[in-house]
Amino acid sequence: MNGGGSPPGPGFLLLAAVALLSAAALGYEVLLTRLLAIVQWHHFAFLVISTALLGFGASGAFLMVAGSRIRIPPGPFLALAALAFALAAPACFALAQRVPFNVLELPWSLRPFGWLLVIEVLLAIPFFLAATGIGRTLIVFGDRLSRVYAADLVGAGAGAAIAVGLLYWLPAGRTLDGLGAMAALAGATAAVRAPRPARWGLLAPAAGLLALLLTGATGWSELRVSPFKPLPQALRVIGATLTESRSGPLGLVSAVENETVPFRWAPGLSLLARAPVPEQVALFVDGGGPIVIPRHRAGAAPPGYLDDLTSALPYHLLERPRVLALRAGGGAPVLQALGGGARAVDAVEPQPDLAAIARSRYRSFSGGVLTDPAVRLYVGDPRAFVEAARGEEYDLVQVDALGASPSGLDALKAERLLTVESMRAMLARLAPRGLLAVTGWSQLPPRGGPRLLATLLDAFAAEGIGPAAEHLAWIRSWNTSTLVASRAPFSAAEIAAVRSFARDRAFDLVHVPGMEAHEANRFNVMERPWFHEAAARLLGPERADFVRDYKFDIRPATDDRPYLRSFFKWAHAFEILALRRAGGVGLLAIGYLALPVALIEAAIASAALILLPLLLVRRRSGARKEGTRRGAALAGFFSLGLAFLMMEIAFIGRFTVILSHPLYALVVGLAAFLVFAGLGSWLAGRRGPGGSPGGGSVAWPAAGIGALAVVYLAALPDLTSALLGAAPGVKIAAATALVAPIATLMGMPFPRALARLRQLDPVLVPWAWGTNGCASVLGAALATLLAVHHGQTFVIGCAALLYGAAAVALSRMGRVPRQDGGGRRQSLSSEV
């Protein structure tokens, strides 16, 4: 396969080009995650890893099938691949945006299914190009590949950081141009030493591409946000003006004003509300929202409508409270607190750009509420704030959970603030008679509400608060519900206050201590008092039965399974799917549905792009050798691929809680796994125990992975809560340190097993490689699916078991004969 003869070792420029291209490829992975969250919904983020692996896998298949026929020398080839990537990275995304894919139509037609496949293949093309350029460089330098490999890994690690930098410096839509420019630079670097005609033939287009991408002349920077997302919907309304847009690593924040049809966002507003809803400015994060800034005149009484929302209930139970308002960036929860008599408010907003817009451009519009002397605004992760605020004592912790889509589009979004662990921390910050209030959507049939209560009940039990029924008040309007938990049992006066608050606003009681069944379902009447019945059952002795028998998944959310809004139970899948045209489409969470769809598509795409090419050239491969158990070998490689990705994705999931944002988790997780697995793979190639020609055993790394998994599973919960309040640098270092040993071990089995197979039966090598590639594409999607239902711990456990299974299977694939097998040596790079 060594097409260009035996070249001298790779020069510095070539290595630099490899590093740059590798950085661009990993950066592409990170940026796609961000960009897809903006133009579609965030659940497509997890597709990106699967897509990247598809591109890598297809590249491997391509190199195996056609690599030997490539006559271009390594430098120019790398330059070509890099230039193609430079063009493809922004172009493929621009094309993918033009695909008329609409996830919301998934329950109604097969069309979105096909279009999603098109998008996945389009986005895999740049990964294919980068992997082909780097992979061939690795192959060409055969025995001296370690330096190329090192450059590849260093580049990848840097790429993750560069992507975050690009998101800081450039508007989101321009980041891929920036990345393309970096790849063009890689192309130019690789071309510098090329022979004269080829050199200029490559440098000229590189310069052209660079100019094109840096000036943005491609016109590809426009982000075409799905027209069904809240921001484009708001912008189509007569009179709407986009006044400001700020882009950063944590999201794209857009501010919209409308004087003709003013925003009047007031979910759950009482039908009996007397005060009008004042004009508002709407803020959208990644096109979702809105989060509103109500117009308010400094010094005037806060707008009265805020007292006619279900979330106002706790202010009727407290005297001059000290309030912690979580997710309060727009200022409405703060205004509500001040209107409710709060003496001091600590407001926490996770979105820095949102807070900045509210505090600067709309400071006077909002009456300067966020700069009020009684208000302190903290910009940062609410969960981390709660964990770090150990010395603080609040009379009220107010959580706004209305930011997520009410109809299941955010089913896969990790809700780190409303897990058992987080609720325990919030309860622990309360004064002796303090309250924790959570306001969310109340869907019908109930699912989010019962799950929230189940979660709270576990937190109560862990904090020794009980009997639970005495510590709870729960009310609802037709679309929102507010659950109030008290550290102390509610007094008779407080219970009376809850009743009169609800009655005066035509809100329904779901639960107050001592409530009778006939008091429920009075104002917003549903077929049965579903909410009250759910509360009664959850508070009663048969809670476990109720949770088990409920047709939605309402098990408590935990840090391990922080999917508060994923309610899908496979046991009732057919019933719900059958009802989708009979008025039951609202029972489906589309955000969740996208996941099994993605898994099926990953299977199709990886079979078509990885296995099919191998199948087509099977005849050329020669006869198979006797004595090799093909089934065992392929099962082993399949397990390895699944296991690696499941472990990686589960860790990234856990890091989402620790590192406070999915993007940071992805960046740290991807980079750390790649670099340390690379290190492990390099170590494995260096010295097999006993210097065995077969590349050493798979068993001991597998055993090591198993042992480490057990240690991590035992230590992760405590480690998570210990790290949550730590400084960002400490968190990143700790996460990296956690990954280092296990990823190093995880890098070992594959090259070892492949080396052994090469001696046993070289014909099988491409198949082992392809099987492994397919499995990793599947593993990425499967890991998320399993985590939603069973938690990250379960996924880590499965991955460890799969490593064990792989070790067993691979040990049975056959014995390596003493003398060299003599088959045609295939100089395959196992590390592509």
Binding site: P100, R111, V237, T260, V277, F546, L587
Partner: protein, 272 residues
């Protein structure tokens, strides 16, 4: 009422007094709709009705509505859709209200995209909502969120006077052109803020809010006649979660009902 209410632009087709000027009667630029996927969609939908006559497709749609209504009766309280509503649905050419590219899907019992991030509702939901309004010919009806104009046309088959307001200008223009063209001269279509209703024409015996609403606009409740009904489908585009029914009694008291449009008991074995 409110000073804002005066700003709502009551615009019938060609009304030159509207601040945005008269709506030109020109066909809507089709490429702004949903791309060129129509043919593919038909192929994939498995619908064999590509060449079937529209009357037959419409009958199929009515059968689907009747069937779904019967299956959901226990939860909606509606055993069967009022025959007059069914007749109205039979008369309105739904394919005229969807982009030409997907006209062949018009009579499937599903919502469809109509461009501008908007949808035309599922026929079953249209039928159920219209039924719940319990209309009589003399009723005055207000619709907030014209969209394609389909719901307004169905209402116009049943009552003498329908008013409809849209906030997305191209959709408002399109409906103002389309409805009279199809003979619905009893529909007055406007562009503007629906939050304040249409005070000049109030009170209304029925109000239907098909635009996304975070709360029930109090001005709309105020414009409801005694014994009047207001219906809001709650959910996202393409997926209605429930119907909200606000009824104003003769004494002015307001009651709210939440209707699940599907027969689904969330607990295995039913409620105990």
């Amino acid at each position: 009422m409110n000073e804002k209410s005066g700003e709502r632009a009551a615009v019938a087709a060609g009304d030159a007094s509207h601040p945005l000027g008269p709506f030109p009667r020109r066909p809507f630029p089709r490429r702004e709709f949903i791309g060129r996927a129509g043919a593919l969609a038909v192929a994939w939908s498995g619908a064999a009705q590509a060449g079937a006559p529209r009357d037959e497709m419409r009958r199929g749609m009515l059968e689907a509505i009747a069937d779904t209504t019967a299956r959901t009766a226990a939860s909606t309280g509606v055993e069967a859709i009022d025959p007059e509503v069914m007749t109205a649905l039979d008369r309105v050419p739904r394919h005229e209200f969807v982009p030409t590219e997907i006209a062949e899907l018009a009579y499937e019992n599903r919502p469809l995209p109509i461009g501008h991030g908007q949808t035309i509702s599922q026929p079953y939901i249209v039928a159920l909502m219209t039924h719940l309004l319990a209309l009589a010919p003399h009723h005055r009806v207000l619709e907030i969120g014209t969209g394609s104009g389909y719901q307004a046309a169905v209402l116009a088959e049943l009552v003498d006077s329908v008013r409809t307001i849209e906030i997305v200008p191209p959709l408002a223009r399109q409906a103002a052109e389309r409805l009279p063209r199809l003979g619905y001269d009893n529909v007055e279509a406007g562009l503007g803020d629906g939050y304040y209703g249409w005070p000049e024409a109030a009170p209304f015996q029925a109000i239907i809010v098909t635009a996304a609403a975070s709360h029930v606009p109090p001005p709309l409740v105020a414009q409801l006649a005694p014994d009047g009904v207001l219906v809001i489908p709650v959910g996202e585009r393409f997926s209605v979660q429930m119907l909200l029914l606000v009824r104003k009694r003769a004494d002015g008291e307001v009651s709210v009902r939440q209707v699940l449009p599907v027969r689904f008991v969330p607990l295995t074995g039913g409620p105990r």
